[in-house]
Symmetry: C2
Subunit: 559 residues, 2 copies
């Protein structure tokens, strides 16, 4: 076999077309595309508005089994499937999330697909891209500064500084900022109080940008953000602080979808990027809706495993945006299934059908879970060279016993030529009219009951526990009119449970809700479970140490 | 008189040309310009390198008297003079700084000129522009995160956490972040320690970007940053933390100059933007040098009054980059001179020749100071409609007695047609061969002596005081090999003294050096005097409350 090229080498060798040409294929006129360099562009608001009467294409969700260090390739498969659908003659548009800058310098490599199924320019997409995350950081922190400033200049709103819930954000893995005492140093610096930073992807502003339908809706939602409580316990809104309009100004360009291309020159929107373990984990509604107006098929992803990303895609994004997915693809790899069956990472290359069959329990539960939303499922086996025929057969047999096809896909090595069969199957499912989408729970149930439904039906937990404070807080929000909101669970991505080491398909575990946060602007209640953190740290040897510009000015070390 | 249009109304009505056309006038080929929308572009590194053998044009500095709330219009005059030079047939390029985002939401309006002497698109330039400041923020904070991470994972470099000098930055006026205790909350969050945030323009990374000659020099300087000290008091460098190469990757696009246009479609580089009260206050060396290769004349600005901006332009930027300015323009207004003469802001519209003459002492000292650097001077009187003939004559007479022409300029109201006389005078000075540039002090003097020379020769202070700690610190840096660095004084912009209320031309005042900071990568030592702060706060009613998107999608409230 020839030497395998790295993702960045493949990306760098891509024969990119001018972005205006990619836009033209979707019928986007040149003056509706604001270029950022030659290979990135933002789609104008007026053009998007002009599409509203067009019919929608078919929406395909790509989700996955629980991730392991072995890798599953969800974004890779999303990109590959988009290329594959174009290859078989469908006008398909890809919608993925923007990667977060901070984690690129930690352990995570880039997030723009891999092998011959990538979106490009991958270095730009993984770094500053078109500046959307920086705009979100700035808007979030402007509100934070205005809150402390309001208190400093007399606190006309009577904000209880102990009950300010709005933290600050930074797009960096920086554990030192998780918890701090700010405003130290005397009178000129304000009233000392405890606070901290989350990573930008966890910002409610990120969620709002991803869920807002247009700039007017964005401004309304920003105004609805609850930043804390008065001494009389009534909520203080961002609009009380008069910050929401300036925040909208900061976000006006970030709100517009980013158009790039795949290695095969097919169109892809890369827009919005919350993590599904600490946020709702889906790309923006505005990009998805725009793509549905422009393409026959839209392939989109939801973060991490289907227990997190797909559940939130259905219960938050589709419920709130009125989207009706036609089919779902669950990505699995032989390696990751073996890890779910107890094999250690170092032993993954050896054939082990028995462990694989144990690990398939994880896949089986995700298949059953996605069907609970009324959406037909197909499994994509993302091929690795070490996979044996016996292992691949075992996965196919397992899926068949659970009523689903499992199709071997070689898009990583072969691009669209390696994923035709999956593309055909997706078309068959989408056009078969089987999809009858419905969310998992109705709006009107009590908030804690919604958490319990997700925990029992999706995670197969035996019990949900929480402190009295959490329960009281949920009741207070119900009294204040927030009872109809859906739930966004923050949970480890590595397990159905809240214990990252519990792989496979655990049953009867306890989900402890440690903290709840109201995202009144985004329109959901966050339930933080287990040990999950909203600000990551860097590892012992951060990948930043290996990232550099080479002598030709190319970025090395992003992978 | 017809209703006067606001700056943003004038800017919005501008007939902009495609940015490639502006670049073509300077001989920049289209493939060396990376577009950001239709009216902004970055100039490629290879093209800049290809210019190195060309001769340089003439460099003109625009500086000013001490600013007052009455306004002086330094950027406006820089832009106007560039347009004026083009009008009289010179190929002139403008080089100004990028405005900082944070202060736009405080009291300061936009900073892209005013009236009919502006660079456009002014809203973009004042908001995220091409993302340079966000990149600087990210690079700065990546280093900060990697320092705390190094300590967390065993502290192999033996860093004394009490002596970490590298703070964090944010492009926001946020007094609550000035001083904090971070890493609270237990073992997982690191070792609690005192730290804080500065505003991004005060970052050493900003200064490095503005002083670096190319990407290689940038990486070397980033590696040279001193982030703190070990228990044995030896300095810890950014390269010890292995952060400098990833920081370079984050800054690779930010390093390239941004090309925009004036209202009259003349080329302007807007690149780099430190404040002259807390940093060195000049646009980037790479933009200035590129402009000198492309134009016959380059008009650039240095922040605030000549005591801060011009002194640092000469002693830091020109000294280190080998630039030789041909002439300097000192901008004054009748209103600001009257304020310097004791008139209150509300009384400025009434003629008051006597107060004006008193205030001219401020102008006179700036004229004499700039001459100390061997650069010929002309005064630009930036015209306001309330100025009377007697007042204008008084300024002209005063300047003449001090050996300088003072020329009335109406560029704010009339564009280039109103500033022809100044343009002609600048050409006469520049081509007269009078300039014999030399910095104020030689490299080899002790650091404290350099501070004293600036204080006595430029500020006319009677004495420089400092704590023993400050003096010991300077001596230690001299022993470590940093004695040859120039000084960057952080001082209020409102007075020659450290007391912002002491207008005019105070003598014999005391300059107290409160703190010193080593910027080993940028190549200077910062001396912080008086009450100046490196993180501003927001006022009682921040301008953010008045900034919004109107129904047509235009930004209102930036002015």
């Amino acid at each position: 076999m020839a030497a395998v090229k790295s993702d960045i080498e493949i990306a760098r060798a891509a024969k990119k077309k001018p972005i205006a040409e990619i836009g033209a294929r979707l019928g986007i006129p040149a003056d509706a595309l604001a270029p950022y360099g030659y290979d990135k562009a933002k789609v104008g608001a007026d053009f998007i508005t002009s599409l509203s009467d067009r019919p929608d294409g078919k929406l395909i969700l790509v989700t996955a089994i629980n991730p392991t260090p072995a890798g599953e390739g969800k974004t890779t498969t999303t990109v590959g499937l988009g290329d594959g659908l174009n290859r078989i003659g469908k006008k398909a548009v890809i919608c993925v999330r923007e990667p977060s800058l901070g984690p690129c310098f930690g352990t995570k490599g880039g997030a723009a697909g891999g092998g011959y199924a990538q979106v490009v320019p991958m270095e730009d997409i993984n770094l500053h891209f078109t500046g959307d995350f920086h705009a979100i950081t700035a808007a979030h922190n402007l509100l934070a500064a205005m809150i402390d400033n309001h208190v400093y200049w007399g606190n006309a709103e009577n904000i209880d500084v102990r009950r300010i819930t709005w933290r600050r954000v930074m797009d960096m893995n920086d554990r030192a900022l998780r918890q701090m005492v700010a405003s130290l140093g005397g009178v000129a610096n304000g009233f000392p109080r405890e606070s901290g930073f989350d990573i930008t992807v966890a910002s409610e502003v990120m969620a709002i940008l991803c869920l807002a339908s247009d700039l007017n809706d964005l401004e309304r939602r920003l105004g609805d953000i609850v930043v804390g409580y008065r001494f009389d316990r009534t909520p203080v809104f961002a609009r009380d602080i008069k910050a929401h309009r300036a925040m909208t100004v900061l976000l006006k360009d970030a709100m517009q979808p980013n158009l790039v291309q795949t290695l095969e020159n097919n169109p892809a929107f890369v827009h919005g990027g919350p993590f599904a373990n600490i946020a709702h984990g889906c790309n923006s509604v505005i990009a998805t809706r725009t793509a549905l107006k422009l393409g026959d098929y839209v392939v989109t992803e939801a973060g991490f495993g289907a227990d997190l990303g797909a559940e939130k895609f259905f219960d938050i994004k589709c419920r709130k945006a009125g989207l009706k997915p036609h089919a779902a693809v669950i990505v699995a790899t032989v390696r990751a299934l073996k890890m779910n069956g107890g094999v250690r990472k170092d032993d993954l290359s050896a054939e082990n059908v028995e462990a694989l069959q144990r690990g398939c329990a994880n896949l089986g539960r995700h298949i059953a879970n996605v069907r609970k939303f009324g959406v037909p499922v197909v499994v994509a086996i993302n091929h690795f060279t070490s996979d044996t025929d016996a292992e691949i057969s075992a996965v196919k047999d397992y899926a068949a016993r659970h009523g689903s096809d499992a199709i071997l896909c070689r898009h990583w090595a072969e691009g669209s030529a390696g994923i035709e069969e999956l593309a055909e199957k997706v078309v068959e499912l989408a056009e078969g009219g089987q999809a009858k989408f419905q969310p998992l729970y109705p709006d009107h149930l009590p908030l804690m009951e919604k958490i319990e439904i997700i925990a029992s039906k999706i995670y197969h937990a035996g019990e949900v526990t929480s402190d009295r404070g959490v329960q009281d807080q949920l009741k207070t929000w119900e009294e204040q009119g927030y009872g109809d909101l859906p739930i966004c669970v923050a949970k480890t991505q590595y397990s159905f449970s809240t214990d990252p080491n519990l792989r496979g398909a655990p049953e009867g575990h306890v989900v402890h809700v440690r903290e709840v946060r109201l995202s009144a602007g985004a329109g959901f209640v966050v339930a933080i479970t287990g040990e999950i953190m909203t600000m990551p740290g860097l590892p012992r040897v951060p990948s930043a140490e290996r990232i550099f510009l080479n002598d030709e000015g190319f970025v090395e070390g992003l992978f």
